[in-house]
Symmetry: C3
Amino acid sequence: MIAYGLGIASRDSALAVIETYFPRPAVASEGAAVRKLADLCGLPGGGSGYRWLDDGGIEAFAALAAAIGEPQQQELAARLRGCETLLLCVVDSSLAPASVPEAFLKLHLLSHRIARPHEQNLDKLFAVLHNLAWTSRGPVSLPDLPALQLEARLQGETLTVHSVDKFPKMTDYVVPAGVRLADSARIRLGAHIGAGTTVMHEGFVNFNAGTAGAAMIEGRISAGVVVGENSDLGGSSSTMGTLSGGGVEIVSVGRNCLIGANAGIGMPLADGCIVEAGLYLTAGAVVRQLGASGELLRTCKARQLAGLSGQLFRRNSLSGAIECLPRGRQVALNEELHVHN
Amino acid sequence: MIAYGLGIASRDSALAVIETYFPRPAVASEGAAVRKLADLCGLPGGGSGYRWLDDGGIEAFAALAAAIGEPQQQELAARLRGCETLLLCVVDSSLAPASVPEAFLKLHLLSHRIARPHEQNLDKLFAVLHNLAWTSRGPVSLPDLPALQLEARLQGETLTVHSVDKFPKMTDYVVPAGVRLADSARIRLGAHIGAGTTVMHEGFVNFNAGTAGAAMIEGRISAGVVVGENSDLGGSSSTMGTLSGGGVEIVSVGRNCLIGANAGIGMPLADGCIVEAGLYLTAGAVVRQLGASGELLRTCKARQLAGLSGQLFRRNSLSGAIECLPRGRQVALNEELHVHN
Amino acid sequence: MIAYGLGIASRDSALAVIETYFPRPAVASEGAAVRKLADLCGLPGGGSGYRWLDDGGIEAFAALAAAIGEPQQQELAARLRGCETLLLCVVDSSLAPASVPEAFLKLHLLSHRIARPHEQNLDKLFAVLHNLAWTSRGPVSLPDLPALQLEARLQGETLTVHSVDKFPKMTDYVVPAGVRLADSARIRLGAHIGAGTTVMHEGFVNFNAGTAGAAMIEGRISAGVVVGENSDLGGSSSTMGTLSGGGVEIVSVGRNCLIGANAGIGMPLADGCIVEAGLYLTAGAVVRQLGASGELLRTCKARQLAGLSGQLFRRNSLSGAIECLPRGRQVALNEELHVHN
C-alpha cells in the first residue's frame, strides 16, 4: 500500500525534523497516482520518503490532486499555502520507516483507521523517532528544554511538559469518529480506535494496537494487540505485550469477550470468552479444562486453549485451581454507553 | 429538592449548548424561592429547565436573590452582567435531566457536595450530554475540531485535546474544600469528594460516586459507588460498577475499610472490613467463612457476607481458598497525609 | 550534605511563598563554599534557610559563585537578574525542611539525581508544603482559585486545573537525561528517575523513590521504594508503600528483577527475582519454598525469603499455593526500547 500526506513539520533548534502533523493522510489507490506522487516526492524508484514543498511545490501538489481526482487534497493544499515547514511524504507500507515524517505518517494512518494494526512495517520505529518533551507549546527537543523552561518562568508564563516520549498522544492529531477517550494522555498516536469504542480513564492503547469496532476499554491494550468487536476489557485488565519483559506469542482478544477488572491474559482469547476479575491467565499456566457439567476433560497449558471460543476462565475459589469451562452468561455492552458516542 | 444556578454556557458552531459552568449552584430551600425561580425561568408548572438571561433577566435574578435573602447570588449576578451566554437553570432532583444545562447543574451539585450520590434522577444523562473534545481552549464539538486543530497549527499555536468524552473533569468547575486530587483527569465532574479525601494518581472517581468523608483513594470508585469515612482503597483496587460488563448489585464500601492494592470487590463491604491485596472478591465467589479461631463456620457465596462488619477477606496462600474471618489489625489512615489537606 | 540553589518563587495573594523553581540546584562540596553560602543566606550557625535576593544580593551571589569556581551558577545569576521573586536557598540534608523553598529544593535534588532516595531528611514535608491547585497558569492557592476560574471564563479564556496536591509534577521542573516518561502527571517532583529508565503510562513514581539506573517501569513505585538497575515492573504492578494503609517494612526491588503485570510486593525483592503476573506477594503470605527440582524445602512467611536472589514467586495454578523456586528464564530489558532513550 502506498500512502501519502501533506505534512506540517516541527523542527528543533538545529533544524532537525522532530515531528510532523498530517491533516489528511490518504491512500494512493491506483498506479498513476502512485507514480505521480513518487515523482513529486523525488522518489524515482518508488518507496518511502519526503520532500519540502515551497510555493511551487504546493502548486504542483494541487495540480496532482486535481489530476488524480482528490478535491479534498486540493482544498488542503490551498489551505496550507504559506506554511513554512510544509512537506509531502509518501510511504510504502512494506518498508521500514527511515525518517521522522515517514514514521509519523504511518502512525497517522493507524489512528485515522486507514491502516489496521500489523499491516505496516514499523521496524526500527524507536530508532527513527526522537525522544521529545511534549509541552503546552508543542514538541521540544530535550536539549532545548531547560532554556525554554527558564525563559517562560522569567516571562511569568507557564510551560507544562505533559510527556517525555517518542510518541505523542493521538488526539492532538486526530479524533476518529464515534469514540470516547476519557484520558487522552493514555492513547498514543498510532492507536487504532474502532468506531463505537469507549476508552475509560484506566484504559490505555499503544501504537499498532487497538479495537476492530465497538468496545468498552478500561484496561491496557499493549502494542500489537487487537481487540475484537463488542468486547469489554475491565478496569486495569492487562493484555501482555511482547515489547518488554513479556512473552513471545502475540496476544489478541476475539469478539464478544469480557476480561474482568484487574485480570489479564498472556495468550490469545477466542470469541465469546470471559476471564474472571482478578485472574491473570498466563500462556504457561496449567489449567483444568472442564466440560459443561463440570467434569474434568484434561489438564493442559493455557496456551493450548487459545483457539476455544465461549470459555470462562476462573480461579476456583475453594481449590485455588485455574479452570476453563463453557460459559453461560452473555456479555452485553451497555447500549446506552455506546449508542451515543 | 429544587436547585438552581446562574450558568455560563459554551456553544458550538451551530449555537447548540454543549456545556455550562455554574460558579455558585444552590438549593432553593423554601416554597417562595422555588416559585419565584420557576417564574423567572419560564416554568409555570415547576420542574426543570433553563432560560437565557439578557440584562433585564440578570436584573430580575438579582432582585429575586435579594428577595430570598441570598446576597452571594446577588453578588454573582453583578459579576456576570455583560456575559453573552448567561442562563438561569432550575432543576428538580426527581426529574431526569432533559437539557445540557440541567445535566451540568446536577453534576455540579454532586461536586459541590450539595447533593450526594443517588439523591438525584440522572436517567438518560448519556443521551443528553454531548460527546466533546475537551481542549486547551475549552469544550469543542467534534465536527468543529479538525478545522480548529489545523488553524492552530498554521498560526504556530498549540491546541491540546485532553479528553473526548461526555464528562469534563471536576477541577475545571470546582475544587471542594479539604481534598487532594493528584491527577485531576481522573476525577469526573459529578464526583462527590468528601472533605479530608485524598485521591492519588491511581485513584479514579466517576460521576454520582465518591466518598462520604475523609478517605485515602488510590483505586477506582465506579459510578454509583460510595466509600464510607476513613476508608482506604489501595493502588488500582476496583469497586465493580454496574454500567458496563459488571454485576447488578450496587457496590459500596463502609467506614474504616481497607481494600488492598490490586484487589477488588463485586459486592458491598460493611464497616471495618479488609480485602487482602491482590484478591478480587466477586459477589458469586464461594468463600469459606471462618470463626475467630480459624474454625470453618460455613461455605457460602461472598454476597451472603455483605452485611458482616469487621471481616478480613483473603486467599489462603497455601490452599488457594478464599476465606473470610474476623479481623485483628486496625486500619488507620495516616494522619499526616490527611490533616493537612 | 549542604546543597543550594537560586530559586524563582511563586506567591499567593497573601504573598506567602507557595512554590519555588530551582533551575540549577547544586551541592556545596567544600567548607569554604558552605560558609560563604551560609553567610549570604543569613545563616550564621549553618543549617537550612532562604533569603530573598535583590540586585545587590544577586551580585553578591555571582561573586560567591566566581569565588568557589562555579561558572554555571554565575551565568544563571546573570540570567536571573531582574527577577522579582528571586531567592537563595541552602539546605542541610540532615535537617527537616522548615519552609516551602527548602522543601522544593530537596525535591529538586532528588529529581536532578544529585541526591538519592533516603539520603535526605524529609520529615514534616507534608506539613510544610501547601496544598495547591496546579493550573495552566501555574500554582494557585486554593482560596484564590474560584475567583480566578470565574475571571477566566468571563474573559473567554481557559484555565485548567491539572492537579490539587502538595507536589507538582517533576517534568515542569526538570527532565533528567536519558529517560522517557509517557504520562508526566504520574511522576512527582522528588522522584529519582535513573538514566535509561522508561516510565510507561501506567507507571507511577512518588517522591523520594525511583530507579537506580535503567529500568522499564509500568507499575507503581511508592514513596521510599527504590528499584535496582535493569529491572522491569509490569503494568499496574505494585510496590507496597508505608505511607498509607500499607505495611511497615520498606520495600525495594533489586537488580534484574521482573514484577509481572498486576502483581505486587509487600516485601523487599533481592536481585534477579521474578514475581508472576497477577500474584500479590505480601510480607506475611505463607509460601512453599521449593528447591531446583521442585522439592519442598520449607514453608515460611514471604518476608523470610526477602534476601534470596534468583527466585521465581508464583501461585501454583493447580493447587493455589504460593511457591518460591529458583528461576530459569533470564529477564532481559528490550534493548531497542532503552538504548534510544
